[in-house]
């Protein structure tokens, strides 16, 4: 490349629509941005790709997400009957569960839990198992043909845990559990056998 000093009229050879261009030097500050970008790219490459001193932002997000998922799975899998019974005596958890229950469940099971469209939740008769983990499973997976939807994707594990604790707060650990006959919607619920 000739410097402008050697050639006072550095005209480019091409001509489009009769328009020709000079070949002037770029502003130095403009070139510095180019050199700066090259230096930055080298630094980036060394940091993230060659020696992996830093973690690539996209990868960092993925790893954090996987960690969160693992934590969530761990938290969910440590659910046990004992823990759920313990939660059912925690007033804060039970109050949170009541809010969710009143908003989402009461339309079928009534605010009194005595059942109407869906079955009674406070007597000793259970349709799908009467121990705490069975209740969690029923809420999670639902009983789709009967109209009980799978709530896992709607409520999430935390809320399902709270709702279970709320239902259990009407029961006692070790109380008798009996298999219930099929529930007929709208039937008059027998008087509650257990409660607060």
């Amino acid at each position: 490349m000739k410097s402008p000093a050697e050639d006072p009229e550095p005209l480019r050879p091409h001509s489009y629509d009769g328009i020709q261009e000079y070949d002037k030097r770029l502003p130095n500050w403009w070139l510095f941005t180019l050199y700066g970008a090259i230096v930055y790219a080298i630094g980036y490459w060394v940091l993230f790709h060659q020696f992996e001193i830093g973690m690539e932002p996209g990868l960092a997000v993925e790893i954090t997400m996987r960690e969160n998922q693992q934590t969530a799975t761990r938290n969910a899998s440590i659910l046990s009957d004992e823990l759920l019974w313990k939660l059912s005596r925690d007033p804060q958890i039970v109050a949170a569960g009541k809010t969710t229950y009143d908003n989402m469940c009461a339309s079928c099971h009534l605010p009194t839990l005595a059942g109407q469209i869906g079955p009674n939740l406070i007597d000793e008769f259970w349709l799908h198992g009467g121990h705490p983990l069975a209740v969690v499973r029923t809420i999670n997976e639902g009983v789709v043909p009967k109209g009980m939807i799978a709530w896992a994707s709607v409520l999430g594990q935390e809320k399902i845990k709270e709702v279970t604790a709320y239902i259990l707060s009407y029961h006692r650990e070790g109380e008798p559990v009996q298999q219930a006959p099929p529930w007929v919607p709208g039937q008059i619920a027998p008087p509650a056998s257990a409660g607060h």
Partner: protein, 456 residues
């Protein structure tokens, strides 16, 4: 001084280094009006966050809480789509103004121009006029030069810092900014670094970059050749009247006495007499400069003036032309669309979805459909909603929203709604008209969902 040529940019030397301009002082009607207008714009910029409207600053883009307060209206993220009309409208208005008035935005209202006017005033305060500035450039580093330069840079820094803090105000409100300024930076690193970087960038702009922004970086400047035509308002030199140049009294000479005043005052270093140029930001300094000289020479003002290219060529300037009529129509259309969009914004977002699983449940004498209702309150105060379902058969009943739904400020509530009808009436599919009524705002959101029964 070097005379500008059309071959290259005056501010970049042949070796690529920067030539700092020292535009000379100018007085005149446009300079005065631009100064008044500039201070007004700065006052508006600094003042808007301080004016409360409906309990919030007039402009408060509360990114942290995902809500945007504009002159008393509150938008939440769900309303963000109207920003399309706002941004495209601003862009199109710029097109419109350019077709009509050329680069009047650049010369009168662009923040870069308004800020640089203040910056040049500060420079004049510390270093004197253009001649003195050039002398100072060439002089050795004495105590005086150090003090003048240091004082100027410190003033630039203060100005940059003030502008950056005002900018942050738009996002955190003045009260939020005050709280941050009283707390240690580690409690708000993001904002601290942002203001730090912005102050630095502005200081660099004021101390060194200046007109390079307009000449090289600004995309609007680059679009000029496509946006203006021969009838757009531009600043230019009346060659018919001015040429040939010559001293007063020279036989056959035009009105231009080649005093170079118009070149000396130009903030981008061009010679307006070479015609319309990309670098011209339309600041009108050359008009005032030339008018002053013409007045002294007892010649009429306006050798350099606001006019159209047609006007400078001695033809008639047409204001109404197809391009402008088309632009006006499109602008009105866009304004109408935006007005309509704003008028459809509701203080609430409602979504009603069928639950996953079976479309309907048969139980004894009944058919049931289940829905999930989500209500999002987009206002800063709690709202109560009542839900009614109509258009169904007589046996239609529903449960799930007894006693209304109370949704907290900017909160979201979900309800499970069960709709039941008898087996006889629940055949096939029929529409349900669900009305969600905000008690506080008297707004009604209507949604139609189908009820699905056997044999649909």
């Amino acid at each position: 001084m070097e005379t500008p040529t059309l071959d290259s940019v005056t501010t970049i030397r042949d070796d690529g280094s920067r030539r700092m301009l020292h535009p000379a002082d100018v007085r005149g009607r446009f300079t005065r009006w631009r100064a008044i207008f500039g201070w007004l714009l700065l006052a508006v910029y600094a003042g808007l966050p301080w004016i409360p409207v409906n309990g919030n600053p007039a402009v408060f883009l509360d990114v942290a809480h995902r809500q945007f307060h504009l002159f008393g209206l509150t938008f939440v993220m769900q309303d963000l789509w109207v920003a399309f009309f706002l941004i495209s409208g601003v862009g199109f208005s710029l097109f419109y103004v350019t077709a009509l008035l050329g680069r009047v935005w650049c010369g009168w209202a662009c923040p870069q121009t308004v800020y640089l006017d203040v910056v040049r005033r500060i420079e004049r305060l510390f270093e004197g006029d253009a001649m003195a500035q050039e002398r100072l450039d060439r002089s050795a580093w004495t105590l005086e030069k150090t003090l003048r330069r240091g004082g100027k840079q410190f003033a630039f820094f203060l100005f940059s810092a003030a502008l950056s803090h005002v900018f942050l105000c738009y996002y955190v409100s003045p009260a939020g900014l005050l709280a941050m300024m009283h707390g240690p930076p580690r409690e708000h690193w993001g904002s601290f670094v942002f203001v730090f970087l912005m102050t630095g960038a502005m200081w660099f702009n004021f101390a060194w970059f200046r007109e390079q922004f307009c000449i090289v970086l600004c995309p609007y400047g680059r679009l000029q050749s496509a946006l203006i035509d021969n009838d757009s308002l531009v600043i230019g030199y009346d060659a018919n009247r001015g040429e040939p140049r010559g001293r007063k009294g020279t036989a056959g000479a035009g009105d231009c006495v080649d005093c170079l005043r118009c070149v000396k005052v130009c903030p981008t270093g061009i010679d307006i007499r070479q015609g319309l140029q990309m670098e011209c930001i339309g600041c009108a300094a050359c008009i005032d400069a030339c008018d002053e000289v013409m007045t002294k020479l007892d010649r009429p003002r306006g050798l350099v003036r606001y006019d159209s290219l047609h006007g400078f060529a001695g033809k008639v300037r047409r204001i109404l032309r197809p391009r402008l009529i088309l632009y006006t129509g499109l602008l009105l259309l866009g304004a109408a669309a935006m007005t309509y969009a704003l008028s459809t914004l509701r203080p609430v977002t409602v979504s009603l979805t069928r639950v996953r699983g079976t479309p309907y449940v048969l139980a004894a004498e009944e058919v049931r459909n289940q829905f999930l209702l989500r209500i999002l309150n987009k206002r800063n105060a709690p709202q109560t909603f009542t839900v009614t379902i109509s258009d169904g058969p007589p046996t239609l009943r529903w449960s799930g929203t007894e006693g209304g739904v109370l949704v907290g400020p900017l909160g979201e509530e979900m309800r499970s709604i069960v709709v039941t009808t008898s087996r006889e009436e629940g055949h096939g599919t029929f529409p349900l008209n669900v009305r969600v009524h905000s008690v506080e705002h008297r707004t009604v959101i209507e949604t139609i969902v189908p009820f699905i029964g056997p044999g649909y």
